[in-house]
Assembly symmetry: C2
Homo-oligomer: 458 residues x 2
């Protein structure tokens, strides 16, 4: 077994420099929803980090949008795929940030910036580990195939085709280290073996060709009311999705998944403290019931509501148009196609055929992989060697990503490990990672390169 | 009976000039919700028009906000109060205007501009009539007391106190000509004897201290969902307000009101053509049932919805806050105070005590007056002399205004007459009046000065 003393010492010694690289990357406002020039700046910066780590890069053929970067390093029997992305979510609401989202700031042992947790922190930590491994231990003991895209936060629209076209290349991988990872409220590192699927869409109603004076509100249709009525038919107040027939497509957990679920803790008190819920969790969920809803059931989200007058004071108007910006989170075997079909039928059956579904065509398939794979074992072992508390293995993340598109279709098992914490505020203001987790995360990846190379129990 | 030949000839001859005055007033963007310097510009312009009409003005003591102008002219037994306002609604959505809202444009016999119908057209027509009467007929046969405010579109917050403080002055009036008036779809001029009350407010929910990643949507509360659930408990899809106990406070129509209601036509085909409703009127209402809902029942309106992400594409977020901008339209004896109390109790009873009611403190009382008053008879007679089709008398407008505050509390009967048409698009883009209606409206006011002075059947 390799001695990681020199590796760990170098990680500690270089922590400040690596953190500065991360801050520099976070300074680039690579908001994929905005499609600005920052996307290419971020891609170029990532390629520089790859080069410094001895990872040879080439942008994949991607005619529109920010490049998918393919990086290769090392040699050996085993091939480890690593997936990350250099794009970030929009930073609004801006006025809730304590420091500007693209001006990284260290406060109280944490680095705050948009994207620092999701997932520039992991990207920089992993490249640092690959570089420092070679500087302190020796040549990489396996092949690394690094896939880094710039459109994860807008649903990875090109990764679907990429995963298909690059099937031969991607199938070489024996396992994939997924993009993210976080400690939970009890400080256990969490390993995820799957993701939920996702489909982003708008529900849009137009009830008239123009707004009208609200004196007529007793008899004139109002798009905002119409939208709220349609929405209320889709989800119960306790959070269950009540679209007709949707749950019929949800696969029951396997025995293995059931076993994993039992070991997933759920600290609703810590969640309450983090998020300050005024009414607790939906339906008063706690414990095992909360875990099951959170991980194993579909979810339907309103991301935003837009209708009528939104300025100061009042405007006594009947809005002619209303839009709900939405996403669905899907679990096996509920595909986006099935979900959209059922949604349309559900609305039509209730007389809401005037409620349009604007499909953003951002589909991600739900996918889960086995806890018995070499990558799952190697990630578990690597974290166990470094972290104070043992890892928890979840059958899936509650989040989504192109896991089926990149790995599932090409037969590559997956596990995740990362540098985030319970209060990382992913997709929200004041996103952060703890510097100690970041340093620990680099150490975990160093072990993983070794563990995954020599694991032969698959 | 006075010969109006010279008066009418002068109205025709000066129509272009008066229309130019109206256009100049419409060019001033006096949006009271914005409280900008345009308010004082509009007030000054109105005072100039008053002076030209021989109406002596003084601004009432109004320490905050745009001035309430009091104008006086004429002498005689009878005193006619006239009420108008020089402020307008916000012009958005701007992109739906065919010509800019504050650049008046004549197209196809109509003048388009924000406020041209509500109610700068009436204000300018009435002052023109007063001026031309004196130029062509002789001294005014009655006293005119003109009250012109600049905050009608934000709920007339100062007129409440004005109506109380100026009670002695206002009680001198024998009747009041209300601000507006319109032809209906069948081209009958409509006279209104009352208004609905109004209360503007926001419903606001905060479910957490920050937004969260929508992967957690199965278990995390979502302010947008919470708001839609609360809203859906307040109004039935057919438009009836279902706040517990609210209808118990609605006074049944009197016999006189019932008789008037029977004569109110309801052309739902024309409304459909004007507004392009995708699903007809609420609850499929037509005919007498539509008239009753429209005029005699309260209404609850969503004016706008604001929550979460409203930009392009998608942002997979759970919003922590959601707001519905709303107004209630009230009928006797349902006061704003009663309605707010019932709304709070209704929400609390259903577990929505976290849904805040943000009371804008813009209250208007509901008020109706008798069809047998001198002013109602005089308005009816004056319109009948000029208009091609006979007027329809409605017990109330579906809209609101400070009628109780100005007239009701001071015992002054009210009737309305005005220059708008079915498609005036009040409070909406492409607001307009027809130039022929504007000219006819000036002629009506000329007759009214005469009719009201000599009507002694009261």
């Amino acid at each position: 077994m390799t001695d990681f003393t020199a590796f760990d010492a170098a990680v500690e010694a270089q922590a400040g420099d690596v953190l500065a690289q991360l801050a520099a990357l976070c300074r680039i406002p690579s908001v994929s929803a905005e499609r600005g020039p920052a996307m290419l700046d971020a891609a170029a910066f990532v390629q520089t980090l790859c080069t410094a780590a001895g990872v040879a890069t080439e942008p994949a053929d991607q005619p529109a949008g920010p490049p998918i970067i393919i990086g290769r390093a090392g040699s050996g029997e085993r091939c480890l795929m690593i997936y990350n992305h250099y794009d970030v979510q929009p930073p609004d609401p801006l006025d809730e940030w304590l420091s500007p989202p693209f001006e990284p700031q260290v406060r109280d042992g944490k680095l705050y910036a948009r994207g620092v947790s999701d997932n520039k922190g992991d990207l920089v930590a992993r490249l640092a580990a690959i570089r420092i491994y070679q500087e302190t231990v020796g040549p990489l003991p396996l092949r690394v195939l690094y896939v880094i895209e710039g459109e994860e936060e807008v649903g990875s629209p090109f990764l679907f085709r990429f995963g298909e076209e690059q099937g031969t290349l991607l199938s070489e991988a024996d396992g994939c280290l997924w993009e993210f990872g976080s400690k939970n409220a009890d400080e256990n590192p969490v390993i995820c073996l799957g993701v939920k699927g996702m489909a982003a869409f708008d529900l849009r109603v137009r009830t008239a060709t123009m707004d009208a004076h609200s004196g007529n509100g007793g008899i004139f249709p109002n798009a905002a009311w119409r939208l709220t009525e349609a929405l209320d038919s889709l989800r119960a107040p306790d959070g269950r999705v009540i679209i007709d027939g949707l749950l019929d497509h949800v696969r029951q957990p396997t025995e293995v998944e059931e076993r994993l679920l039992e070991s997933v803790p759920f600290n609703h008190v810590a969640l309450q403290a983090s998020y300050g819920f005024s009414n607790g969790l939906l339906g008063g969920l706690t414990g095992a019931a909360a875990v099951r809803r959170w991980l194993m059931e579909p979810a339907l989200n309103v991301n935003g509501l837009v209708s009528g007058y939104s300025g100061p004071g009042s405007k006594t108007v009947i809005p002619a148009q209303a839009t709900a910006k939405m996403d669905m989170r899907l679990v096996p075997e509920l595909t986006p196609q099935i979900a959209f079909g059922l949604l349309r039928e559900h609305l039509d059956r209730r007389g809401f055929s005037d409620v349009e579904i604007i499909d953003h065509n951002d589909y991600l398939m739900p996918w889960r992989t086995s806890p018995d794979s070499a990558i799952a074992r190697a990630v578990t072992a690597s974290i166990s060697q470094v972290s104070a508390l043992p890892p928890i293995v979840q059958p899936t993340s509650p989040g989504s990503g192109p896991m089926w598109e990149l790995c599932g279709r090409n037969g590559v098992p997956v596990a995740s490990a990362g540098v985030s914490w319970q209060d990382s505020h992913v997709h929200a203001p004041n996103e952060s990672i703890r510097i100690a987790d970041f340093v620990e995360g680099i150490k975990v990846i160093g072990r993983l390169l070794e563990q995954f190379a020599r694991d032969d129990n698959e």
